[in-house]
Symmetry: C3
Amino acid sequence: MPLLDSDRLFPLESDARGLARALYDTVADLPIISPHGHTDPRWYATDEAFPDPAQLLVTPDHYVFRMLCSQGIALTDLGVPRADGGPTETDGRKIWHLFAQNYHLFRGTPSRLWLDHAFQTIFGFDVPLSTATADDYYDRIASALATPEFRPRALFDRFNIEVISTTDGALDDLRWHQMIRDSGWTGRVVPAYRPDAVVDPEFTGFAQNVARLGEITGEDTTTWQGYLNAHRIRRAFFKSYGCTSSDHGHATARTEDLPQDQAALLFAKALRGECSAEEADAFRGQMLTEMARMSLDDGLVLQIHPGSRRNHSDPMLAMFGRDKGFDIPGRTDYVAALRPLLNAVGMDPRLSVIVFTLDESSYARELAPLAGVYPALKLGPAWWFHDSAEGMRRFREMTTETAGFYNTVGFNDDTRAYLSIPARHDVARRVDCAFLATLVRTGRLAEGDAYEVAHDLAYRLAKQAYRL
Amino acid sequence: MPLLDSDRLFPLESDARGLARALYDTVADLPIISPHGHTDPRWYATDEAFPDPAQLLVTPDHYVFRMLCSQGIALTDLGVPRADGGPTETDGRKIWHLFAQNYHLFRGTPSRLWLDHAFQTIFGFDVPLSTATADDYYDRIASALATPEFRPRALFDRFNIEVISTTDGALDDLRWHQMIRDSGWTGRVVPAYRPDAVVDPEFTGFAQNVARLGEITGEDTTTWQGYLNAHRIRRAFFKSYGCTSSDHGHATARTEDLPQDQAALLFAKALRGECSAEEADAFRGQMLTEMARMSLDDGLVLQIHPGSRRNHSDPMLAMFGRDKGFDIPGRTDYVAALRPLLNAVGMDPRLSVIVFTLDESSYARELAPLAGVYPALKLGPAWWFHDSAEGMRRFREMTTETAGFYNTVGFNDDTRAYLSIPARHDVARRVDCAFLATLVRTGRLAEGDAYEVAHDLAYRLAKQAYRL
Amino acid sequence: MPLLDSDRLFPLESDARGLARALYDTVADLPIISPHGHTDPRWYATDEAFPDPAQLLVTPDHYVFRMLCSQGIALTDLGVPRADGGPTETDGRKIWHLFAQNYHLFRGTPSRLWLDHAFQTIFGFDVPLSTATADDYYDRIASALATPEFRPRALFDRFNIEVISTTDGALDDLRWHQMIRDSGWTGRVVPAYRPDAVVDPEFTGFAQNVARLGEITGEDTTTWQGYLNAHRIRRAFFKSYGCTSSDHGHATARTEDLPQDQAALLFAKALRGECSAEEADAFRGQMLTEMARMSLDDGLVLQIHPGSRRNHSDPMLAMFGRDKGFDIPGRTDYVAALRPLLNAVGMDPRLSVIVFTLDESSYARELAPLAGVYPALKLGPAWWFHDSAEGMRRFREMTTETAGFYNTVGFNDDTRAYLSIPARHDVARRVDCAFLATLVRTGRLAEGDAYEVAHDLAYRLAKQAYRL
């Protein structure tokens, strides 16, 4: 008996379900466009085997270990490395057993759906993971990982990935991207320009980072113009590796469009480490507008991912560092926040600004009305905690009537969990087909149009919006 | 093959669908009560033929041109007039082709449903609008508009409108309403009292507007009491034309109930143009409470429409002026904001205050609990961007359990798009019947009661709440 | 013909409905765990007959009289006592007729479902309440109430209540709980520690209340340490009566973790009545963290119920006092507000903090992400205005994917309406089974797992989370 229901995520009612299935059948095997994600370019460069099952599926996946943590399981028992280098569990099988024993915690979650998808379609399991099956799971996955068929590049082909974007710091030398290129392998892996370390005055080592930016570009980054030039140079460097987008993960959606002399003064203050929190926020907001202006020149797509309050727990940040499941969304305003940027460049159809949210209350109220009128603005898909069946359904239900389908940009997986990529795209395709089938069967969309939209959402819009 | 599915917007499941259809059949042909809208009284007064198809259906409809704009189509290519009188497209057929060519953008939107409803039921089309059919559409619509059957009054009868309210400035002489009266035509068209220009200190020409208000009422509007009297006189004047409501579209739901001497001082400051933004907001809030008190005397219903951030784009405001699709909703608070007014008059069952929202997060949290206890407060229907199948469904799902049906006021179309009026009321009737059928088939409402509620929502509640 | 549909609240689609029914059949008769409520311990202590039907079902139920009030019915006509002791209706039959005459107002509301459930299952009615049946209803209910089978303890057994918690002020002598114990009756009724009167500097008589706290504990509550000790002593006293939880109904979710000397200074200021509103709020927030620390010692579960703006109407507060249906929810933030408490004790799996909300926009955005990672945090069920079919559905749809089922705590009825308790638990069990059946039939949950989760949600999780 399979782990997966072949009609999963389709409407309950049989006629709509049949149409959803028919729509899905036309898009299920389309290549994956993955324009925003966090897989490690080193995997594709070196094509080494993945380590043991726990190191692949449990220890690095914050969706997984945060749920276990919420029920009192220590991160050290899951092998999560400590910031001080202190002891953490290294026995993969032991970690795997702890995970299997608590697999019921994932009932009803997307993680369960993604994991079961990988277990069934990648490793061929047909009985659920449990304490009883933990060893069999561990052994079979471990064996598989040792074979060539489970190396990163082989999986890339098997996953039918047409192109994938990694996310790379502005100071990154893109050595793995170079190595991929040198290797002659034809898989298309491109970088994205993520300049947090050199645009956020509150980032650790900001001034040194900006100095380093100057060194590697040959610009005088102690001046505002030199600093902007250095960005332009790095963006061109990234573009030379196929990069088509920049990515910005600020706490708020604030943008600014200050007069250049004021921006220059703010930059100088930031370099001196003298910005107040408010000034640092203003500077980050200014840089979004600057990046948008650069996009008008070089064509990079601008992605804005606001709304996460990072590192909510002080003791956990001290013990384990960043990105350990303690980033919590908060209320996020877009209407006033995006106005300076939109006033500056929002009417230019050559520009593509893709905005994401963790605050679903903004979908129908703010984001759809904004994207439904500004040529430069598009809506990114349901993101992070909302990258789920219910989250995707709410996204479509709350944005389509005002923004339509064509101000959205298809799906991106946003993940560092390589094995979950096919599962995530599959969920998105199913949920979108279910939504379309429901529209058709309630007289809101012509059946022929639904087939076209299904293809657009699964494939074409991501390619077009990200210029891939 | 028809453009419209006769079972559109009903539940998927066949038994609930059958009941929804049965409920709908009892209300589908009820007369239209349109207590709040923006059609032009001149249409009914002069009964002239509408201009060409583009001027009727594309150029004046901000739902339509904002979507085209969002995909990079210039408003001038759609014939939208420029503020500076500069060149804009005047060739109706050319505009129509551009619209037809991009008709796919409206897939899944209420605009598509409204347009197809007009195309099929008013003009008799049975193939969808597309590049291929654009000329046929244009020609047939243009021909029809030239015939007597498509004049405003003939359509009024055909639409089965029992009464429609226009929206008119406080300084308006209601000449078109007078002309309707003089004409002997029996269609019931009534004005609504919209005093923005004379209650908002930030409105262009506020002081002159108030002076003009004094002239036409014979009151000394340089004094607070004279100013209030002038409002009373204008309200009586509007009432003499059948007006039953006033309408207030502030940015927030703020109300105030200041001591009269403080209100007088604030008014004086406003006349001198010396109000801060905060004071202007306070004055607008005070005027809501003053209007509510006047309502206790003259019986006009008070409508509050807060939450739109007007004219979001500076360049578009400069180029095209107001009401060009760049009004964007924002978060709106009601609990603290309405308290002064409700403390003053909220317990008086003679008063009818109808409140609308663009912030759906307030439905279940704030508006239903308020309307579910204050006798004076009622909930207006899903509004503007939420005047759609999903928006109406969310409105019922999030308000009914706390406010019931009888603290809501049926539907209003709020539109200046005359041809969309039957379509909009039809959507509301269908969505409400679908909701009621779902309640019945899930054991939350008796079937017999559902028929009564369906009639109330489609007809009776609007008549009663607006005293029409 | 019964008042209740036996398949009520199940999915429309027949296959999912069949599974929901099958799931429900396994949990319908489980004992009721009622870990948070407001029934009067005196009922169980004295076991006296309830007064007339109106005094039982209309006059004390704010869900019922607020809806009647919203349509202009005076609370005095419903027998609600006036704060000044002035005249109010005392004729139960007259009140009952007014209620019956307006029973249509409750269409589509949970109150209607709860009342019909009581009418059918407790009193055996099979025709709906209406003007025509009002007298029959009144007579039969009045007769029943006079019989031993309708005394509180008999109903306790009939309702199959395994344990019920009352809510009791910190200064309460728990005399009724003592009387229950002395009586030898074996029904399990336990108190909950609700210290508002002695932790909220803005509570009427705060300083006197704290002085009284000192008297009854023998501690010097003029000092911070004595005050904290007095809490510890009262908590132990409550525990000796079976108490397992404390309960905190602040306006916001704010917590603080001030240095102890600062907390002591703030406490001294509070005792002197010199706290600003901001300081009073900080003190309440500090006390949540102090209570959490005490919980680590004594094991009491900490419940936080924020978000209600109490006594919205000044005239109604003056005329009728508190708790008269004029408490209105407002926006509530959790991410920043809970951080001090969570930083202090949130990683300790021995602690159980249960948080509720009236602001559904926080479910997916804030509460599920927080509960999905902090071991100490659990989510209370849909609460108050959201204790309804739609409210419960939204709760599951918006929390499950991020927090799973096992960071929620089952259902609690939170009611003072004794006869509604079986109905409310029945609604929760049905809605949860409908949700689970939908997950199974859309391939998101294994059918076998659904049976286990149904049992957990109906019974086990409440017992476990509340340590009952």
